[in-house]
Subunit: 297 residues, 2 copies
Amino acid sequence: MGKCLEYRGQQLKVSELLPASFNNIDIALFSAGSVRSLEFAPIAAENGAVVIDNSSAYRMDNDIPLVIPEINPQAVKDYEKRNIIANPNCTTTVMLMGLKPVHDISKIKRVIATSFQAVSGAGAQAIEELRNQTEAIINSKEIKVEVFPHQIAYNLIPHIDSFLDSGYTKEEMKLHYETRKILGDNEIQITATTVRVPVFRSHCVCVNVETENKITVSQAKETFNNFAGLEVVDNPQKSLYPMPVESSGKDNCLIGRIREDYSINNGISFWISGDQLRKGAALNAIQIAELLIKKYV
Amino acid sequence: MGKCLEYRGQQLKVSELLPASFNNIDIALFSAGSVRSLEFAPIAAENGAVVIDNSSAYRMDNDIPLVIPEINPQAVKDYEKRNIIANPNCTTTVMLMGLKPVHDISKIKRVIATSFQAVSGAGAQAIEELRNQTEAIINSKEIKVEVFPHQIAYNLIPHIDSFLDSGYTKEEMKLHYETRKILGDNEIQITATTVRVPVFRSHCVCVNVETENKITVSQAKETFNNFAGLEVVDNPQKSLYPMPVESSGKDNCLIGRIREDYSINNGISFWISGDQLRKGAALNAIQIAELLIKKYV
């Protein structure tokens, strides 16, 4: 509070959040975690602002739409019930950018997803931690472990968010529940493993899908190509496939390694990479705001 | 040739490989790639040595056993046909250390595997490349890309070995074919995606298995616990699960994140991490040699 933050060359003063802060605000973008959202989103909503909330606080609330504009824009209109719209989990968003076009061709029966998640998903300190640990290891110094439960540099941590009694993490279950809500299909079966990898930015998801009817690779590619927000990068012979260094800083999610899964009758696999700070968070929130501005506000 | 290499404090002189090199050799360990193996393994075999070959040259040859001593030791005896025994692919070995105990409880129907493979799988220069690229990035210098097709530091490359027309890599198909051969079951369906990650050592595989009958988590854990070469590390509440930094330098493969897959009737998922230079290569070769010495030579 009182501190100044630089934003696009301007110095902006940080003010205390008060109910009055929301007077004359049309759209309030929340991105300070569930605790803050649970406290202040209803206040903002009551004061007439439409809240677009990036936390997980309201995502599974029946009265609150969970929206990816390219996928379920029509859901936005339900914001009127509570004046709150939820922004989905970053990994869910990246994965669904690839799953929705598949679902449009043939109903999805089952998804097996394995995520490779960048440290920036855990915040600015996590980025520093990866950088500092790498530097320490390169210089044969001792590493500090503070943000993640273990060393992340040159390591893999199959643990994102907290563990449930079932042995799954909350992150893994978000992929399950949020997918069903966004695609509006509670019959889809989803099982996921989410893994933190020593990458600064952009999540990747390795996705195996079983559909009701057969989908050919060329059918899938064509549909992916025509899907807004998606870019097909799939020329293996030229070593072209999606990678975090390529998707970082891009609005589009990159999809590739598209191939038939011969282990079942109607299966397809792909690998998708998306900037989780953009499409997985900020961009998607802004796109929701644009939907509101164009159609509903 | 003529060069000296240090091995356990001794200076060993490198000699030219000649047919006569194999005189009076009982067991010859080959680990210099397929081209060398194809040329010299038959010569060694003809001269009376039993070849244990770490390359992929002979793995799928019907007359040559492909052996993981904890899994199919009985196959070793077939070495007599050609005097050659093949050492499986490193990722296949790590994955199978977890799959075999499952298969022992209930026949495996289908496997979906996603690998996270360390750079050391690509040799000593690959280790240097990861180290050099990281150092360059940390110091804001330009990186050099020589061993891998793209930057590997802070990146993910979903491309190991060369691509086939099907869109799969050879590495991915090795998981399929070698698994069937080692488990002696051509009905098992396997689909894999193999990914290079910026980790120095130890491969991890995220494995989803469908079995004929239901397997409970406690059943699986008990069987894993009793399986030689496998160590259960699975206490999520204490943030204990397998990680490359933990499995590196160990003979045992570490298995964890064991959980029922609710997306199908009889499904189980796990995460396994193994030192691909040990169990995935050298250790397994030595274990095969031990089998030969104890029983057959």
